[in-house]
Amino acid sequence: MKRAKNRVGERNRKVFYALLLAFPVLQFIIFYVCVNLNSILLAFKVYDYDTGAYSFAGFSNFTFVFNQFGTVIFQSAIKNSLILYAFTLGIGVTLALLFSYYIHKRFPGHSVFKVILFLPSVISAVAMVLTFKYFTERAIPAAWESLFDKEIEGLLANPNTTKGTLIFYTLWAGFGTQILMYIGAMNNVSDSVKEAAQLDGAGALREFFYIIIPSIYPTIVTFIVVGVAGIFTHQMNLYSFYGTSAAAELYTFGYYLYVHTKVATSYADFPELSALGIVLTVVAVAMTMTVKYLLEKFGPSTD
């Protein structure tokens, strides 16, 4: 009797479990699994304008994509995407870690700085970009003229400063989420370890490099590894700054893929974009695995 009751209870649990997961799993199958499978299939197809249907095209889309790597746009995209990642990693992550440490140590103004550093993350990218664009193009030249009596071009209009300004903007507006994660991880570092270091006479910087960094290393690795994927998806805010008309030498792959999907007048352009997506995904997966392996092999140890 008791066993039969248990069996009914277990069956009810399974039915309840299945009902809870039915929609999430179905949604995942359609909008992740099927979308990505369809993307792979699309990459091997070509659109027939006469019939309005796709037909198998072998590797022709991939040939087209590889030929594109010789064009100015693709070469700029490779260069800019890598430069942006290097700056985000070298300057962005370093500053974010140091700022987080300042807040974690509860140095003067820490709670105000925490809110302000997070602020750009909640402000719309369009609003932030437009304000920044008008400020650099109108306010800074006007201020320069009134201070030094000399006319200058806007930082975005001047070709010598355009890329630097765009990279600066990405770093400047991108601290928010990182800071929160790093502070969260730093707060979890054992107080006894920090106190022991302080008793040994370690200053703030020594504690940062020898205690904090090794302790939160898994969080840093996660951010850097996830960031590798961003190399090929980051738009450097080009669409917000320029719409569809950014100069060829400013392109990133993220911008190229978005703009070409946005302006595609028919399904005919989709197969080539999907082929490019697959090529970049293969490169990104390889890079992600390599970066993860290197960071884990050569990272700091807590011993």
């Binding site: 009810n12 649990r13 309840f16 479990y17 809870l20 997961l21 999430p24 995942f28 992740y32 990505n36 369809n38 700022f99 300042y102 003067p108 103004g109 700085f113 809110v115 302000i116 997070f118 602020l119 909640v122 402000i123 719309s124 369009v126 609003a127 437009l130 304000t131 008008y134 109108r138 306010a139 201020a143 009134s146 400047w172 929160l180 502070i183 979890n188 200053g203 703030a204 940062f208 302790s215 898994p218 996660t222 996830v226 590798v228 994927a229 090929f232 669409y239 917000s240 893929l257 999907t261 399904y267 989709f270 974009l273 999907s274 997506g277 697959i278 990104a284 997966v285 992600t288 807590t302």
Partner: protein
């Protein structure tokens, strides 16, 4: 040692002084453009030509009035005809899009995390592995395929369609809910089972109330994310432009009156306002401690 003295002593560290200065400079660099932008919204187009930097001489709300009356976005009506969506309609679309997507996503994440954390089946482990793998597996360029799929299922150009498309459990918030549910003591649910409560009752009356503060935080963060997003509505919702979409269009227009700097900035500040209010009211909740990675100890 009193707090003031402690604060003073912490400033003796060179690190603290240097980074205090850097952070103050960062704050100035952030508020200077925003402050200048806000002041500019109160200048007329004519005044801006001669007074770019100073305070507005003829303080005017005309840009805001003009924006409310004219910040229309063209929308396709079918049969090749074009209609216009007013700013008020864009706000309605934004609330429906951001509110609906945020709620749908938070519910799906929370329910999936609950099921996989509380029911120790093999399938739960698969779901957990899927979330972790998809976080580090970079998929690039699936947008064309997703558009096709949205059209196939009739979800394209439909706000409820976007709710369904955005209601996925992938990402960091799943892990946050998962670890919270795992951390809740079993005694809570076991006591309810002994009292004869059903699975549904245990979930809705015992365990979900425990995670309600996290749920609210996730809804707010997701709401802000969707409210600010204009690139997805630009592609998927051509008939239902959101305010972000409108501001982007407004900022890139060549129409004589609307193309001025004060007007562009007015659009920006109209877009900022709801999010700023949410941020100021819930700032403590939104920037509470979140931990993603493990700790080596």
């Amino acid at each position: 040692m009193n707090r003031k003295l402690k604060k003073f002593l912490s400033f003796r560290s060179a690190f603290a002084v240097i980074f205090f200065i850097l952070l103050v400079l960062y704050c100035i660099s952030l508020f200077l453009p925003l402050g200048w932008g806000l002041l500019t919204t109160f200048k007329s187009r004519g005044e801006f030509r001669t007074n770019i930097l100073g305070f507005p001489q003829d303080f005017t709300f005309s840009n805001y009035i003009y924006a409310f009356q004219n910040m229309d976005v063209p929308v396709p009506l079918g049969n090749g005809q074009i209609g216009y969506s007013t700013l008020l309609m864009q706000f309605v679309n934004s609330f429906l899009y951001a509110g609906g997507c945020a709620l749908a996503a938070a519910i799906v994440i929370c329910i999936t995390a609950y099921a996989t954390a509380k029911f120790d089946y093999f399938f739960s482990k698969i779901i957990y592995a899927i979330v972790v793998i998809t976080m580090v597996l970079p998929i690039v360029g699936a947008l064309p395929s997703e558009i096709q799929m949205a059209r196939l299922f009739g979800l394209f150009d439909s706000i409820p369609g976007m709710w369904i498309m955005r209601a996925n459990f992938l990402g960091i918030y799943y892990l946050v809910f998962y670890s919270t549910f795992k951390g809740v003591a079993k005694e809570y649910s076991e006591a309810a089972y002994i009292d004869g409560a059903s699975e549904w009752r245990v979930m809705t009356r015992v365990l979900l109330p425990i995670v309600s503060p996290i749920f609210l935080t996730v809804v707010l963060l997701k709401f802000i994310e969707f409210w600010n997003d204009y690139q997805i509505p630009l592609i998927y919702l051509p008939s239902y432009p959101t305010v972000s979409y409108g501001v982007f269009t407004f900022g890139n227009t060549n129409a004589t009156e609307a193309s001025s700097v004060p007007m562009g900035l007015t659009g920006c500040f109209l877009l900022l306002l709801p999010v700023l209010v949410i941020f100021l009211v819930f700032s403590k909740r939104l920037i509470g401690n979140v931990s993603m990675g493990g700790i080596k100890e």
